[in-house]
């Protein structure tokens, strides 16, 4: 089978900085090519280059051939006949990819009218069909809706509808599910796969997630620093990874930190006890004549964390896990129920006692950029929680303590005088952990602490968490949407859905044998690299026979 779209020696540089170097790939009808890489590898630029939508200041060489044409030499007016008609693209962020002030129907119909020169009425009818093809039938009544009225998954379906409206021959998808919840991700991936098979499109799927690619792609190319380091048929490639970078990436994706050495005494007096906690927000009223409605973000949640225990809290966006975390941290009081930390209710004790409780519980947040004041040095940032100890520490003691914790998270004490912007994402997360450690707490609440990090760095940070757990006897409340992360680091897990706990148990047990239907759905929706590869191998063997 011959390629319908291929890149040869494609080089792209932006303002003199080389982004892609000698990139070759082929897309075939009805097949998916997976392009994998970490942030900054140039994979998104490959997609934009294929669309000829490179940013200002970009220059390119090499060949992008499609139906006998070299697209790198095509003029923009020529490209306007190809883009959206023969080659289409699906973007990462469904929240921002649609024009907020125009209706869905209008935005889907626009491409149809542009390319097919059909009447408004015809375009309208075809739009209804296209939306049906992406699973948004007339029963959703989306034609006259605006993007903000749709869920994230629905918006991504609309973006796909725009892309496939004119039945293109090539579909490029840049991280199409990264911004979505796992269950929605599974649906969108199935949809894309179906479309590719049914309409015999050639697809370029770009992702950072090896599992997603292994599940979807027929062939895979691994990219690093603008170069494709290795490529081949999916099963075969992953079985014989030869390039050191691809091996490292594969290992990091499968990485599990060292398991706990000493068992946790679960019968001990719990460190943190959450009983029947309720959190609710008033919704804005539809009119003054209706009763005020409440959104119950957290509904009667109870659990406890034993000393040195690592508890995972998983759930999809909007399930109430972050709201719960804020209450546990003492930032917002519960509307019902109570929190007991070290045997005391932080919302009922005196100021001084509260300070002691805060010394015992610190937090690590998701965003390695937003969690530091850009104007404060690392030393000032890390020593901030020592404010809780007021006069107990001299300046010299503070400094010593900061140096200690920096070293225990794998940074140098000389880093104390630098500013956060001088560090990489992974290093920043180490600084955030150092800040949480500085008061020597017994519990650390970690809210999506590795979600913003690349796979290989994520593995290192997870190792650090495991190491600190064993070395310092820390307990964790580990909040994440990512099941694999929770699986890797926690002893027990709680699954939350729509403000309630639906399942709780030892981590291994919950994941291998989920009882609640929601947990089952969640677990089955997570792409599993090894499982995907096993299926892939079977299929490839069948094909060659």
């Amino acid at each position: 089978m011959s390629a319908i779209f291929s890149a040869r020696d494609l080089c792209v540089s932006i303002n003199g900085k080389q982004i892609l170097r000698d990139v070759d790939f082929d897309l075939e009808r009805g097949k998916i090519l997976g392009l994998v890489g970490e942030s900054g590898s140039g994979k998104s630029m490959s997609a934009l280059s294929a669309m000829q939508l490179l940013p200002e200041g970009a220059s390119q060489s090499g060949e992008l051939s499609f139906e006998g044409k070299n697209l790198t030499r095509a003029s923009d007016p020529e490209m306007t006949h190809i883009r959206g008609k023969d080659i289409s693209m699906v973007f990462q962020e469904p929240m921002t990819a649609l024009n907020p002030i125009r209706t869905i129907g209008d935005q889907v119909a626009e491409g149809l009218r542009w390319h097919l020169r059909i009447s408004r009425k015809e375009a309208w009818e075809q739009t209804i069909d296209v939306l049906e093809r992406v699973g948004l039938g007339p029963e959703y009544g989306l034609m006259d809706r605006f993007p903000h009225q749709l869920s994230g998954g629905q918006r991504q379906r609309v973006v796909i509808a725009i892309a496939i409206a004119c039945q293109p021959k090539v579909l490029i998808a840049d991280e199409p599910t990264t911004a979505l919840d796992v269950t929605v991700q599974a649906q969108i991936l199935t949809l894309l796969k179906d479309i590719v098979k049914k309409e015999q499109m050639a697809m370029l799927l770009i992702s950072h997630d090896l599992a997603v690619v292994a599940e979807m792609a027929d062939t895979v190319a691994i990219m690093k620093d603008g170069v494709i380091v290795e490529d081949g048929p999916t099963g075969e490639l992953f079985d014989n990874l030869s390039h050191p970078y691809s091996q490292k990436l594969f290992e990091a994706s499968n990485h599990v930190p060292v398991p706990r050495q000493e068992p946790v005494d679960e019968r001990a007096q719990p460190l943190l006890k959450v009983s029947n906690v309720l959190r609710q927000y008033p919704l804005s009223r539809a009119s003054i004549f209706t009763r005020r409605q409440w959104h119950r973000a957290v509904q009667h949640v109870s659990f406890s964390v034993a000393p040195r225990q690592s508890l995972g809290l998983v759930g999809e966006s909007g399930c109430g896990k972050s709201t719960l975390a804020r209450t546990i941290l003492g930032l917002t009081p519960p509307d019902g129920g109570s929190i007991q930390f070290l045997g005391k209710d932080p919302f009922a004790v005196s100021r001084n006692d509260r300070r002691d409780l805060q010394l015992g519980m610190q937090a690590v947040f998701q965003d390695p950029y937003g969690s530091f004041d850009p104007r404060h040095t690392v030393e000032r940032t890390v020593s901030e929680p020592l404010h809780l100890m007021r006069s107990d520490l001299s300046r010299e003691q503070r400094r010593k303590r900061v140096h200690e914790v920096l070293e225990s998270v794998g940074l140098a004490s000389a880093d104390a005088n630098k500013y956060p912007h001088e560090f990489s994402g992974g290093q920043r997360q180490r600084i955030a952990i150092a800040r949480a450690l500085v008061t020597n707490p017994s519990l650390i609440v970690a809210d999506e602490p590795v979600s913003a990090l690349d796979v290989s760095i994520r593995a290192q940070i997870l190792d650090l968490f495991a190491d600190l757990r064993d070395r310092l006897g820390m307990a964790y409340l580990f909040i994440s949407h990512d099941l694999s992360v929770v699986q890797a680091i926690t002893d027990r897990v709680i699954v939350m859905n729509a403000g309630r706990i639906v399942e709780e148990g030892p981590t291994g047990e919950v994941f291998s044998n989920p009882k609640h239907p929601y947990t089952r759905m969640l677990v089955s929706a997570v792409p599993d690299l090894n499982e995907a590869l096993r299926k892939r191998r079977k299929k490839e063997n069948k094909d060659t026979q």
Binding site: Q92, G330, A363, Y369, D373, P374, R375, L388, H421
Partner: protein
């Protein structure tokens, strides 16, 4: 949910040397700073020295052309125009600085308070702001100065009042934009009070916005002072003011149009200076805001 790094760029460096280097490369900043400094020096010098006294009328020297004796000539009352321009710079700068100072000193705390204590207090502060915004600024300044009598001090107060809601808005907006940032949560977890967090984290992080806004407000205040003085409600003779000079020049425009040019250029010079300075500072301090205009 987002696996990729957040979309905003890493914060810029904050050490003084690199900012200074960048500043010297920014065209807006350099031109703006030079113009503003020029006006400032002229104004300060006029406190101690002007080529001629501006409160002595000498009709025998009226409407002198440009010469080495009178660099820009003299007006219809025989006053030296250069001296008048220098003294006018002093008036403009003093009025603008104090008026913007009033706006900042009252507006910024109000805005921060509104951001910190959301709810009723915020609502009250913001509605009062809206009310002040509803009064066309110069019209109200005309009202205030005419009720309390024309004069520099009343002009300062009148212009200052209209700076309060501007700074309240900027401070509140800046503080609210920070409100989701995790470093503020971390500070809360460190047991710090709202006041302490505001002083240590919020104010330093919105200082850029305030500085940029201040330079824009300075130029607006200069324009407002000129307008009031032009109407005879601002600075009174014998003190010089560019607006008043324009008013006096207007009656002579048929015979001596150059009289209207000098004060006009002086106003454009200084307003342009502060505007460019603001643009330049915005580029330097807040790259994301680069293309916006106030």
């Amino acid at each position: 949910m987002n696996q990729e790094l957040p979309s905003y760029p890493p914060p810029a460096k904050y050490d003084a040397i690199s900012i200074w280097r960048k500043a010297l490369r920014s065209r807006s900043f350099v031109i703006g700073a030079v113009l503003a400094l020029f006006v400032l020096i002229a104004g300060v010098t006029s406190i101690f020295w002007t080529p001629y006294a501006i409160d002595v009328l000498d009709v025998s020297q009226r409407l002198q052309p440009m010469s080495s004796q009178y660099l820009f000539g003299t007006d219809q009352y025989g006053r030296d125009i250069l001296s008048m321009l220098m003294a006018g710079a002093r008036t403009s700068i003093i009025v603008a600085l104090i008026a913007v100072g009033i706006g900042m000193l009252i507006g910024v705390p109000l805005g921060l308070l509104a951001a910190a204590q959301r709810g009723l207090l915020e609502e009250m502060v913001m509605r009062t702001n809206d009310l002040i915004f509803a009064f066309p600024s110069l019209l109200s300044a005309v009202l205030i100065t005419s009720i309390f009598g024309p004069g520099t001090i009343n002009a300062v107060i009148a212009i200052g009042i209209f700076n309060i809601p501007v700074f309240a808005r900027v401070a509140r907006g800046g503080a609210l934009a920070l409100s989701g940032r995790e470093f503020l949560l971390a500070a809360r977890l460190s047991g710090k009070s709202t006041f302490l967090i505001t002083v240590e984290h919020v104010i330093p992080n919105i200082a850029n916005l305030l500085i940029v806004q201040a330079s824009i407000q300075l130029s607006l205040a200069i324009l407002a002072e000129a307008g009031l003085s032009y109407l005879g409600l601002g600075t009174q003779p014998p003190m010089a003011s560019w607006g008043r000079m324009l008013y006096e020049a207007q009656t002579m425009v048929a015979f001596a149009p150059q009289l209207a040019l000098y004060p006009g250029f002086a106003i454009i010079f200084s307003v342009l200076g502060f505007n460019l300075l603001g643009d330049g500072l915005r580029d330097l301090l807040d790259p994301k805001m680069r293309r916006r205009v106030a």
